[in-house]
């Protein structure tokens, strides 16, 4: 077979077929990242509708039912379409280069994991154009809202979840096989960059919980179309059963969206502090502990549902325990920066903002973990503020940090630092104006997912909306930066950042189409 021999030398195919039929991890990573950005803009535009409606009390722009469709689709698209694919894209691009592998372990399946997604989201988004309207039961799709009272488009939602779950599982299997089987000689487990470690553990979480999500939507499908009574007490089932199964998936899911972020931050801070990462081993163990704990805290999302007191207490204490390994991580990042010779390029700015703002989201999480207090906060804007703090200046900022950090490696050009900094500062200011007032709204009792509100909430709402528009608009700067950087700019060196360590910085910038077709010299591999 001559194909096998040519394989090491060929470049990308020409035209559209390069993207449709590629098996190259870098191409597939690029596809994931662009898809994620498109979904980020789509889900973001839904958020703009929400914030515009909430700009002042009363119903102005949209019908309440359409408002519910917007909150639902915003959540679903951001979680499954923007954040998760972005991290898979980063994994595709970086993991093989970080461990000295020629590609992902299962390259054809890698292509399939990606190409399911555009079709799945096209099907999900098409419900917006159907007579019955898009799903309107919230991204957590609690039964019976999502079963007995759901619009008929729920069927397409269910199947979309099924196939995007299949995509996630295949992607995760690929990452695990790559990390366990494709490491270059000398790349022992405890020498792997933390981004690889966090993704290994994330992939494990994905394989463990995506099938549970498939199970719960399957039960919904049967309740809706085949007369079963899983979530109907009249037949001996229970709507609360839905919440248990959903959150058994849902809680690990939130760590799926944050563990790779920890990996990104653990790569960036040492580079710009010009110091080795403080406490590498403890970082690995903390990540594993967080993953383990994520399986035994799910019911803290449902304290008010009426659980036995023993359950409430167990889930409260188990949840608080997560603060310990998370604290280890935050202190390690701070200790890494301590007395480092720091510079503040855009990736570092995003990373530092991550450490501060994610920690704030963590603290409000601790507040929410206290069962009796949660009775007050439950389903208010305090919860909205909490999870947006961990997801936007948390997960999304880490994705942006990663983009700026590795963009020179991907394109071969330095990005425009002035525009990057402008993007950071507008995002940073915007995100805080957007979400900080929502804490006050929630503490004062404003419920989430409601298009109208009492007059006393008016001021904080318009402030929040202004922040939302600012944050939303400034994301277009990122698009400009990326396109400019692809088109040209100052040539990037292989090392790119003078403090950067790791195998990905030993290859040229832009990274050749195929890297490490022969494994790197084991002497180059040092502990992070």
């Amino acid at each position: 077979m001559s194909a096998a021999h040519d394989d090491h030398h060929h470049g990308p195919a020409k035209g559209l077929s390069r993207w449709l039929f590629t098996t190259n991890h870098k191409d597939i990573g690029t596809l994931y990242l662009w898809f994620s950005f498109a979904m980020f803009l789509l889900g973001g535009s839904f958020a703009m509708v929400i914030r515009a409606e909430l700009f002042q009390p009363g119903l102005q722009l949209v019908e309440p039912n359409f408002f519910n469709q917007m909150t639902t689709m915003h959540g679903l698209i951001m979680v499954f379409g923007a954040v998760m694919p972005a991290f898979v894209g980063l994994a595709n691009w970086m993991i093989p280069m970080m461990i000295g592998a020629p590609d992902m372990a299962l390259p054809r399946m890698n292509n399939w994991s990606f190409w399911i997604l555009p079709f799945a989201f096209a099907m999900l988004s098409s419900t917006l154009l159907m007579d019955a309207g898009a799903p309107n039961f919230g991204w957590t799709f609690y039964a019976p809202l999502s079963t007995t009272y759901a619009p008929e488009t729920v069927t397409f939602f269910i199947f979309a979840v099924h196939i995007m779950g299949a995509s996630s599982i295949m992607g995760a299997i690929n990452i695990i096989a790559t990390v366990l089987n494709m490491r270059a000689p000398g790349m022992t487990l405890m020498k792997m960059p933390l981004f690889v470690w966090t993704w290994l553990i994330t992939a494990y979480l994905l394989i463990a919980v995506m099938p549970v999500l498939a199970g719960v939507v399957t039960m919904m499908l049967f309740d809706i179309h085949f007369g079963t009574s899983f979530f109907n007490a009249a037949g001996g089932g229970d709507p609360v059963l839905f919440q248990h199964v959903f959150w058994f998936f849902g809680h690990p899911e939130v760590y799926i969206m944050i563990l790779p972020a920890f990996g990104v931050i653990s790569a960036i801070i040492p580079t710009f502090a010009r110091k080795r990462l403080f406490g590498y081993d403890s970082m690995v163990y903390a990540t594993a502990s967080i993953a383990f704990l994520s399986f035994i805290v799910w019911a803290h999302h449902m304290f008010t549902v009426g659980m036995p007191i023993a359950g409430e207490l167990f889930f409260m204490y188990a949840t608080m325990l997560i603060a310990v390994p998370t604290g280890v991580k935050v202190f390690n990042w701070v200790a890494t920066m301590f007395r480092g010779s720091m510079t503040f390029e855009t990736p570092m700015l995003f990373a530092i903002a991550f450490v501060v703002l994610f920690t704030m989201g963590g603290f409000t999480g601790l507040m929410l973990a206290i069962t009796p207090a949660d009775f007050q906060y439950h389903d208010t804007y305090f919860v909205v503020a909490h999870f947006h703090y961990v997801l936007v200046p948390g997960a999304v900022f880490s994705i942006m940090a990663a983009t700026y950090y590795w963009l020179p490696k991907w394109t071969g050009h330095m990005y425009d630092e002035r525009l990057g900094k402008l993007h950071f500062w507008l995002s940073f200011i915007g995100v805080n104006i957007l979400f900080f007032p929502q804490h006050f709204l929630g503490l004062a009792g404003m419920p989430r997912r409601i298009p109208d509100y009492a007059l006393q909430f008016a001021d904080f709402n318009w402030i929040s909306s202004i922040g939302g528009f600012l944050f939303g608009a400034s994301q277009l700067i990122l698009l400009v930066v990326v396109i400019k950087c692809i088109k040209g700019g100052k040539k990037a060196t292989a090392q790119v950042w003078d403090g950067a360590k790791g195998l990905e910085w030993t290859v040229a910038s832009p990274a050749p189409y195929h890297t490490f077709t022969t494994p790197p010299n084991p002497d180059l591999i040092e502990a992070p």
Partner: protein, 308 residues
């Protein structure tokens, strides 16, 4: 860790058309199916949607067939290094783990319903007040033969679990024989594997044929049991939580047995064509792992759905 040599030959296919078209097949299949279900629910003709779904299924099946053929051809052409083969081993192991978690969701639902929901509906403990208010006549027993609201979910006449611990009962109890059949088939597939490793072709084909036959027999008995459930016991998908958990657990298991039998049948055909080597037969091994997994799930089902 692999040696440096095996890295150089890790086969990365240049391009592939398979997954893109597989995605089209997959999305047509579910989109058509979703439309068909909605059509049926609103009493409209579902024929167009059904054809779309079937076309998608056909396309997907065709591509999966092509996909496996390609992989097998590449292996026969010697493109697959030991390291690549290990990737398949990891891939299959983690796929089976994902299947375990899928069943875990349904087992979890069963345990939650039996231990919490039904007793609460029957008036037990602090949560009992809801049941007392809504359906004061409901008594908590498992299996639930009398539903809280029989007007919405009709009562089955009888449950299909073990209600008598005697030899005479078990002798006529289909699930017991199904357990015997599946456990035996796990042993026979192991014999086939041993024969393959000893390069005894004839025994391989014989034991594998026996395994496939046992799989088919299991499925026949399962169909028989479902027919009896629907026709004689009034136990349907619509007969409350007992029917719901019973049919989804045994149904998804039955679906996996169907798939497993089909996979083993393909392995049988491949064995007859002389495909496997004593030291290179991961396709066969993966199929047998899958079969053992399906078997273990059945043991769990037999214990928690039928015995306890």
């Amino acid at each position: 860790m692999a040696s440096a040599g095996s890295h150089e030959t890790y086969y990365v296919p240049e391009q592939t058309r398979l997954p893109f078209f597989a995605s089209i097949g997959l999305v047509l299949m579910v989109f058509g199916l979703g439309n068909a279900l909605n059509d049926i629910k609103s009493a409209e003709s579902a024929s167009l949607s059904t054809w779309i779904s079937l076309f998608g299924f056909g396309l997907l099946s065709f591509i999966i067939f092509q996909w496996f053929s390609t992989v097998i051809r590449e292996n026969h052409a010697g493109l697959n290094s030991d390291q690549l083969k290990r990737s398949y081993v990891w891939g299959m192991s983690w796929f089976i783990f994902s299947e375990v978690m899928f069943f875990a969701a349904f087992f979890g639902a069963l345990f939650y319903v039996r231990n919490f929901v039904v007793p609460w509906l029957g008036g037990e403990g602090d949560k009992g007040i809801t049941g007392e208010m809504l359906w004061p006549n409901f008594t908590a027993v498992w299996p639930v033969i009398e539903n809280p609201n029989p007007a919405l979910f009709h009562d089955p006449e009888e449950a299909l679990n073990v209600h008598e611990w005697s030899l005479a009962f078990f002798a006529k109890f289909l699930p017991f024989w199904n357990t015997v059949i599946l456990l035996t088939s796990s042993v026979t597939v192991h014999f086939a594997h041993t024969a393959l490793k000893a390069n005894k072709r004839k025994q391989l084909v014989q034991w594998l044929s026996v395994t496939v036959a046992l799989g088919v027999l299991f499925l026949c008995l399962q169909v028989l049991e479902y027919t009896e459930a629907y026709e004689h016991y009034g136990l349907t998908l619509n007969s409350g939580i007992y029917g719901s958990t019973f049919f989804l657990l045994t149904g998804f298991h039955g679906f996996h047995v169907t798939l497993g039998t089909f996979i083993l049948a393909v392995m049988l055909l491949r064995s007859m064509k002389g495909h496997f080597k004593p030291d290179d037969h991961f396709g066969f091994e993966a199929a047998s792992w899958y079969w053992h997994f399906v078997d273990v799930v059945w043991v769990g089902l037999f214990i928690f759905v039928y015995l306890m």
